[in-house]
């Protein structure tokens, strides 16, 4: 199929950037979206134009590196699917496709479609862990955890930290990301000792990092490629309130 691509090009953080149009012919429906961009880049390079920079690594939907806004949707049209797992058969001959980076104050643009998501790391550094040094652990089976509880923790832990939730949210809120980490530990016995301090500290840094506030639109949940439930946000809110009360 033949496509018209509108791609955001921006040389560096200080450049103003603009949409640039590229025509691409003979795209196979079996290509992944990123392979389609590989083909474009190969062509651009041969023609002497610098390739479009985009983030990607595992191409298996698990590392959370890929991050494209495709036709206004984080990770594109297919639900529960990262950009790297999206295939061109979702598109048809003659389509115009608009490709942009994640846009959020907390995620400054590095180049073209690549953004800096280290704000997420900072939030985790503020409390997204259980404080246990190597060597402190008792036998793993000393802490029985019901299957249901373990499954809930796993549902929350499945977050890949891609930032689609922030990109899709009109407030650029990181609540779903923070809630997923807080809920993973809040649902495990090992996580209880630091439970409320964790919620409080992570939220404080989230605010510091210029993420917006949550107004319960749940765009995040819809955009999440790993189907992280917005119910976890309610859990975060409860733990955060409790942290305030117990202070």
């Amino acid at each position: 199929m033949n496509l018209t691509l509108h791609i955001w090009r921006q040389k560096d953080r200080n450049d103003t950037g603009k949409m640039t149009i590229y025509k691409l012919e003979d795209v196979s429906p079996d290509m992944s979206f990123l392979e389609m961009l590989d083909v474009l880049n190969e062509k651009l390079e041969v023609e002497g134009e610098e390739p479009v920079a985009f983030d990607h690594d595992c191409r298996e939907g698990i590392c959370g590196t890929c991050s494209l806004m495709i036709n206004g949707k984080a990770h594109g049209p297919r639900a529960s699917t990262t950009t790297c797992q999206l295939h061109m058969r979702e598109f048809k001959d003659g389509d115009e496709i608009f490709i942009e980076p994640w846009r959020a104050e907390a995620f400054p643009i590095v180049r073209d479609l690549v953004v800096d998501r280290s704000a997420f790391d900072k939030v985790i550094q503020a409390g997204g862990y259980i404080s246990v040094n190597t060597g402190n652990a008792q036998d793993a089976n000393c802490i029985p955890i019901s299957k249901e509880q373990a499954d809930i923790a796993m549902d929350a832990a499945a977050c890949i930290g891609c930032g689609a939730c922030v990109a899709q949210c009109k407030n650029s809120s990181a609540m779903l990301f923070v809630a997923a980490k807080v809920s993973q530990f809040a649902n495990l016995p090992q996580g209880q000792a630091e439970r409320y301090a964790r919620a409080k500290n992570m939220v404080a840094v989230m605010d510091d990092q210029h993420f917006g506030s949550c107004t319960n639109q749940y765009e995040c949940e819809a955009a999440c490629p790993k189907d992280i439930s917005a119910d976890f946000i309610a859990q975060l809110n409860r733990d955060f309130m409790k942290a305030g009360l117990t202070k």
């Binding site: 041969v46 134009e49 191409r59 246990v132 793993a140 029985p144």
Partner: protein, 637 residues
């Protein structure tokens, strides 16, 4: 180059304990005076960085990823082994040790493998304490599954995302130390050289991928945990960024490189769909529990699979290995698939594929059971191929997946360069010529949490390490070299893209140094690779400048190293005149087509010493002694 494996004396069960007691210690108050440079933030690097910072060392950790959480370890699916014997099925440290030595086709170092099996139990404890949500049974206790090459159930898992959960555990421990100011983390920073002062590893040269700035970092020891080199084949199951640069540049500075030809080709990956293919996707080994592998008996049979009656199908693994059947080990399953395709019986448009069929198990167990077991994998398969594996058999084909070779290390995980330590997939030690499923995660975390934190202290306490800074001439010299190489790449201004060279190299490697190798093919590859490399340096086109985020430049540097490294791989494969594990030389096979080891001449690790680009490296050998496991023919019939 002297290869002293430093294996402690005494009975194998006591070696590690005794060694821990014998090693010198660094006083707690003095630890902060030692600066450790760690390159890599995967399972091995992140666990090492977190643990050493907890102990009080001044840790500086580097990754080319935008966050330590994105290291390739994140992609591991199936699970992690540990000799917990929670299933009461007869597992033990000794059995895990035995299985690993046998699975590696008797080409690993016994003492290291035994220690690995010993600390495996601590890994699970540590990860659970960190909040890793391993699968549980209804009583609330940890669940296990079985993996190839073992007759006990010892694999711990977190759905199909074990690597992700383990890495997030290590990342959280690392993040805690970064937050506490104990680890300085450098994201999007690529190590481009190792710096030696008076023969010791004293620092690295890096390039900041966002600004292009080339910088020096001096320290008291360097730890590489930079992963494997499967991407030398261009197409592999590894993440796109995986590369050999850090290990290879250390090799060029004098670190011995062991067994580069030991590569693992995983039997169940989604086949190539066209020239645009950028990487290959693994389908978990667990599928072989219920799927049956077959090809048509007839060559060139183009009928739909449903139209081919049972009598005209060849379930070749069941036929050739009746006792292991579809669960034959990876190397054997991969080679059999290749044979079937070479005979013209492969399926799919390209003829490079075999069927993995769930028809019979769906009939026997019902679709629901199959969905519960493999639902997410079936979905992933459908997303990629647009075919529904509940209705038509999956098509699979082998793909490069893991590399057992790596920088040579002694029992303390130190390379032949004093002060340079190597962890995880980047070293060569524990898996011999073939790795068992679910053992790489175990090894990465064993190295990082439970080995290096002890052995590095011994290194510091037993050497007098002069303080140096980045002003030392050795750093200036190395920086100049790195800058020169970058400029050279940018100034070739030729007409071919980096990817086109990478693909060309990959094809040569796959055809001649892949699943089956022979003298003729390897000699041919040894002629072709230097000429591809020469063309690369005369005709590659790398656009843009250094002082910016420049993906093309990053990639070109990595491919340049693969173009040298591939040659060493082929040479190693040529010199190893035997078949063992993942290294199959067609000249060395039994009448039934099985791998034929030559223990008399090849019971050693081959360690290569760099002599110059295009010059043949010098070969050294570490003789492997088997005192606890008797050398035997690996049989899975």
């Amino acid at each position: 180059m002297k290869l002293d494996s430093k294996i402690p004396s005494g009975p194998i069960e006591k070696k590690w304990d005794q060694h821990k007691f014998d090693m010198k210690l660094v006083n707690p108050a003095n630890k902060r005076k030692f600066k450790v440079i760690i390159v890599g933030s995967g399972l091995a690097g992140a666990s090492a960085a977190a643990t050493m910072a907890e102990l009080g060392y001044d840790v500086h950790c580097f990754t080319f990823h935008d966050s330590p959480r994105r290291a390739h370890s994140i992609a591991a699916q199936g699970g992690i082994n540990a000799a917990k014997n929670y299933q009461n099925d007869g597992d033990s440290i000794y059995r895990l040790f035995y299985d690993t030595v046998k699975g590696g086709d008797f080409r690993s170092r016994e003492a290291n493998v035994y220690r690995l099996a010993q600390v495996s139990v601590n890994i699970i404890d540590q990860c659970v304490a960190q909040g890793v949500p391993f699968a549980r049974d209804y009583g609330g206790y940890l669940a296990n599954r079985s993996f190839g090459g073992a007759q006990v159930s010892r694999t711990f898992y977190a759905r199909g995302q074990t690597g992700q959960q383990l890495l997030l555990g290590a990342y959280s421990a690392l993040s805690r130390q970064i937050g506490a100011g104990k680890v300085k983390m450098y994201n999007r920073t690529e190590m481009l050289d190792l710096v030696l002062v008076d023969g010791h590893a004293r620092g690295i040269i890096t390039r900041n991928l966002k600004t292009g700035k080339v910088e020096s970092h001096a320290g008291d020891a360097v730890v590489l945990a930079t992963g494997g080199y499967s991407n030398v084949f261009f197409l592999s199951t590894n993440a796109m960024g995986c590369n050999v640069t850090a290990a290879y540049r250390a090799y060029k500075k004098g670190a011995g490189f062991a067994n580069p030809c030991y590569t693992q080709i995983h039997p169940t990956c989604i086949p190539v769909s066209g020239d645009h293919q950028s990487k290959l996707t693994l389908m978990s080994e667990s599928l072989r529990n219920d799927g049956r592998i077959w090809v048509p008996k007839q060559q060139g049979d183009k009928r739909k699979p449903s139209e081919i009656p049972d009598a005209e199908r060849d379930y070749y693994l069941e036929r050739k290995y009746p006792s292991f059947g579809n669960l034959a080990p990876r190397d054997i399953a991969s080679r059999s698939a290749k044979e079937a395709c070479d005979e013209g019986r492969g399926v799919g448009e390209t003829g490079l594929g075999v069927y993995l069929d769930f028809r019979d198990s769906i009939k026997r167990l019902g679709k629901d059971v199959i969905e519960q077991r493999y639902g997410n994998l079936f979905e992933m398969y459908e997303r990629i191929t647009d075919e529904n594996p509940y209705q038509v058999p999956m098509r699979i084909f082998p793909a490069p997946h893991y590399t057992m070779g790596g920088l040579w290390v002694d029992y303390n995980l130190m390379s032949t360069i004093p002060g340079l330590h190597v962890l995880g997939e980047a070293n060569f030690s524990d898996h011999g010529a073939n790795r068992l499923g679910a053992s790489a995660l175990m090894q990465g975390l064993a190295d990082g949490y439970f080995v290096i934190p002890y052995t590095i202290g011994h290194y510091f306490a037993s050497h007098k390490i002069e303080k140096i800074t980045e002003d030392h001439p050795a750093f200036k010299e190395a920086e100049a070299e790195v800058n020169q190489k970058i400029n050279k790449l940018l100034n070739v201004k030729g007409s071919r893209t980096t990817d086109s060279f990478h693909k060309e190299l990959g094809r040569v490697m796959w055809d001649n140094c892949g699943m089956a190798r022979n003298k003729k093919g390897l000699e041919e590859a040894l002629k072709k690779i230097p000429s591809i490399r020469e063309e690369f340096w005369n005709n590659v086109k790398v656009l843009g400048e250094n002082e910016n985020y420049n993906v093309a430049l990053e990639k070109a540097g990595r491919v340049a190293d693969f173009l040298e490294f591939g040659e060493m791989m082929c040479l190693d494969a040529l010199r190893r005149e035997e078949s063992c594990g993942g290294h199959f030389r067609t000249e060395h096979q039994t009448e039934e087509g099985e791998a034929k080891r030559n223990d008399k001449d090849f019971s050693h690790a081959t360690v290569w010493e760099f002599q110059g680009v295009g010059k043949e490296p010098v070969e050294h050998r570490e003789q492997l002694e088997f005192e606890n496991v008797a050398l035997a023919v690996r049989s899975y019939k």
